[in-house]
């Protein structure tokens, strides 16, 4: 595309304007996007479940195994030292990417779910007494509900739930009203996986901190869309997953405030996380190694490092503009299909279009779209309480990423017309 044709002439010496986002060039970085399904080009609209991987990530993982594989941290030979350097180097770059104050505050986990469970078990559980309260929102993923229920059940603490509106927005006033003297933690998603709603996390952090309550942010959906900035959010814990931000599956991140991580006991015991071990007593390694028992997913961490390098090299402002335009367009196209109702219409959204189609169950929508090579998700999206709140049993969800195109939104709309035909609606 002749990008410069679309821009007004810049005055001399002005800062160079961002080039329009070249989605075709980005798509060439993701080999799977050239695949076909049953003879039709793949239309992948399930990036909120897991994102596709750029060649740079695939190569980094494969190169590590082909040329760099050794266990980390205790090897005295050069190959192991090089593997350690790759692993710890990735930690540095991931910390910078998330704007964490210190790479030592970045713990590698298996993913967002494990990160949240770590905080629930190691940070919160020892602090909870019967009657204490954990505050979540009605739009949380099960992974930001169940870990808190487990510690609540064990301690007699209570889970409180901040309300969401019919449009799928967080009711911040309602959340504020639930912060009380017994609140021990607020845990919320930065972006709803089911609806795409972007929550005002900074405001929630300010409200919670004013009451002396720490905040955990589930950043699983935010990391691939927003410019992650832990220091700007001001949160005490931040969790995200590699596979949703163009990295490998099986690796994730927990950021924790340094003083809190220092106080927290280890969650799992094993190799690597110790300072010394005797049968009488063991002592722990320093943060973050204290929380990384056993051989971690070294190649996964290296791959996640490559993923944040890939994202950092993109013009994130242009990416955000592309995603916003795509969300607007896809929402209009889908809503224009007869019988469709969008579910989740907050003004601030990531590119997620959740919807129901009159008289057709989301599973049937997904099966029929699949015949056209279109991958969407159907069901409760691991947010059963949110579905109940919004009065739907399930939704169909098309979720877009930086590599998604307007043509794919067109394909989705055309596919939905075919769903209506097949189902006789």
């Amino acid at each position: 595309m002749p990008a410069t044709d679309l821009q007004p002439a810049s005055p001399p010496m002005a800062a160079p304007r961002a080039r329009p986002f070249d989605v075709d060039a980005v798509r060439r970085d993701f080999p799977i996007l050239s695949e076909s399904v049953g003879g039709r080009p793949l239309v992948y609209l399930d990036s909120a479940a897991t994102s596709q991987k750029p060649q740079a990530v695939i190569d980094a993982v494969s190169r590590f195994y082909a040329t760099g594989n050794a266990n980390i941290h205790r090897g005295v030979y050069r190959l192991s030292e090089a593997a350690t350097a790759q692993y710890e180097g990735a930690r540095q770059r991931i910390a910078r990417f998330l704007n964490a104050p210190d790479a030592r505050s970045v713990v590698f986990t298996r993913g967002t779910t494990e990160s949240i469970n770590l905080v629930a078990q190691s940070y919160l559980r020892p602090r909870l007494k019967a009657g204490d309260e954990i505050l979540v929102t009605a739009m949380e993923h099960h992974s930001n509900i169940v870990p808190w229920q487990l510690v609540a059940e064990a301690t007699g603490a209570v889970l409180r739930v901040a309300p969401v509106t019919d449009a799928g927005e967080l009711d911040v006033g309602g959340l504020e009203a639930l912060i009380g003297p017994r609140t021990r933690l607020v845990a919320l998603a930065q972006i709803s996986n089911s609806l795409g709603t972007v929550n005002p996390v900074q405001r929630v952090v300010a409200l919670a901190h004013a009451a002396g309550v720490p905040v955990l942010v589930d950043g699983a959906q935010a990391a691939p869309h927003l410019v992650a900035d832990i220091q700007a959010l001001g949160c005490d814990f931040f969790a995200c997953s590699g596979h949703k931000m163009f990295g490998p599956t099986g690796v994730g991140v927990l950021y924790g405030r340094a003083d809190l991580l220092e106080e927290m006991p280890p969650w799992q015991g094993g190799g690597d996380m110790i300072a010394s071990v005797t049968f009488e007593r063991s002592s722990w390694a320093a943060v973050p190694t204290k929380f990384e028992a056993g051989t971690p997913d070294i190649a996964g961490v290296v791959g996640l490092g490559a993923a944040v390098d890939y994202l950092s090299a993109l013009d994130r402002t242009a990416v955000a503009a592309h995603e916003a335009a795509l969300l607007r367009y896809a929402s209009e196209r889908v809503a224009a299909v007869a019988g469709v109702r969008l579910v989740g219409t907050a003004p601030g959204k990531a590119p997620v279009v959740s919807f129901v189609l009159d008289g057709v169950h989301p599973h049937d929508i997904a099966t029929i779209l699949d015949a056209d090579g279109i991958c969407i998700r159907a069901g409760h999206h691991c947010t059963q309480p949110l579905m109940r709140r919004l009065g739907v049993a399930a939704t169909a969800r098309a979720s877009f990423a930086l590599y998604s195109t307007f043509a794919e939104a067109d394909a989705l709309a055309a596919g939905l017309e075919r769903v209506r035909t097949v189902m006789g609606r």
Binding site: H361, H363, D364, A371, Q384, M423
Partner: protein, 149 residues
Amino acid sequence: MSNLSELYQSVILDHNRSPRNCRSMADADADAEGYNPLCGDRLRVWVRLGAGDVIEDVSFEGIGCAISQASASLMTTTVKGRTRAEALDLFTRFHDLVAGDPGPDAPPGLGKLTVFAGVREYPSRVKCASLAWHALRSALEGGTPRPHS
């Protein structure tokens, strides 16, 4: 597309749009819930048994996709008037139809239920087709909801 039209046959679409015996039953002898935790679909099946363990009446209510609704509806029309043992045997054959090793012929004696043969091509939808049958079996075996495969 051919697979798709085999899955969404007109009989299935008809039973989805106008499900038969879709009601609760006040005088049931047993009932049981079928629940698919993967998708959240849920339905309840009621049965009333007469002399000789004959299913005098059977009904269902619930939410689900076209496959699970049509399957529940066709199940009720098929097992009504049959004995408990016949209904359980039918379930085994139905399960073979939608999830068993593909053979050249459908298991015998399934009648209209053979419209679900297309489900075999969609492994993620097998549970949709068998949800009501699992609930029926639970009801016939004492009404205790049990996890289904």
